[in-house]
Subunit: 194 residues, 2 copies
């Protein structure tokens, strides 16, 4: 049964996404609730849960966000400290190369670079869904600063390779770039010795 094709259902889903985008844009990530989005679209909160599961998943659907932060964090920190920089570099670069994920990441990047509301929204989501978990897994007093440093290396790389398309790094094979930046990421993520 092709449930997604029934016009009534896909219209409800679109109405929920429109209501979610408006709420997120107006209130930010933290203050937006599933209940309020449901009320805006004139449906029961259970319908939102039925379509999207959690607020986090509703946000990703509304923003066309191309990965699940849970899966991402698990893939990076799950196997332990050894090789973490390499896994982080490879996972990030592969998302930016992916035929499905690349245009979505580019759209989010461009919008966050130019619109303060988009930047604030993306920051809040990334902070709640990615930072906390990464920093907790790392431990240490300045864990969030260390995550920032690693993220700065990754974001700059995405900008040069995929937004500005600067050569020779834009055409360098993923594995060559992973080999160069993994030690940088490990250096930032390592818990400082006391």
């Amino acid at each position: 049964m092709a449930i997604g094709r029934r016009p009534g259902i896909s219209r409800t889903r679109e109405e929920l996404l429109t209501a979610a985008r408006r709420r997120f844009a107006d209130l930010g990530y933290d203050k937006t609730t599933v209940r309020a989005v449901a009320a805006d679209a004139g449906v029961d909160p259970g319908i939102v849960t039925h379509f999207f599961g959690t607020k986090d998943a509703m946000f990703r659907a509304a923003m066309d966000w191309p990965f699940d932060p849970d899966d991402f964090v698990r893939a990076i920190v799950g196997p332990g400290r050894r090789g973490m920089g390499e896994r982080l570099a490879r996972t990030f670069l592969e998302l930016w190369q992916g035929a499905e994920s690349q245009p979505r990441l580019l759209a989010i990047f461009r919008s966050a670079s130019t619109h303060e509301e988009s930047a604030a929204l993306v920051k809040e989501f990334v902070h709640d869904q990615l930072y906390g978990r990464l920093a907790e897994a790392l431990g240490g007093a300045d864990a969030e600063l260390r995550v920032d440093l690693a993220l700065s290396q990754l974001l700059g790389l995405a900008m040069l390779r995929h937004v500005l398309q600067v050569e020779p790094i834009a055409s360098a094979p993923v594995e060559q770039v992973v080999a160069r930046i993994a030690p940088t990421l490990d250096g930032y993520l390592r818990t400082p010795r006391r």
Copy 2:
């Protein structure tokens, strides 16, 4: 004598800048000539030289580019290899903190993130005026890739600190950030041993 205040002269300068912006936008950096810009504004090429000196300086005036690439490269590579990462990090971060230079860098960053023509123009200028000289000073077969890697770290940092303003790195003192990223930059810039 307040020469810049004579209305005829400042009008000529504005007309030249308008003509320069149009030429640069249409043809890019390399193919734009001082002669063509002068012709567009209906003046002798000597007038362009009088106002701006070189094509590079005319470009900086047209783009409101906040530093002289010559001075920048000299400050980084002049004193030699030792401490190069630290000088590069500090010079770059101070430009991004400067009351005059910060808004101009933000405008260039945003425009290059969203408009392909701006991105192409900035790339060409940076490549001609900064990359070549830095890569030459570094030496080694993959010098341009190493400059790209260093630039990716710096650009990502500018994005997190000044565009997205992500904490805690946005409020970290320049010297703390310099201490963390200087070893990364030195690692990238170092000539690989054979």
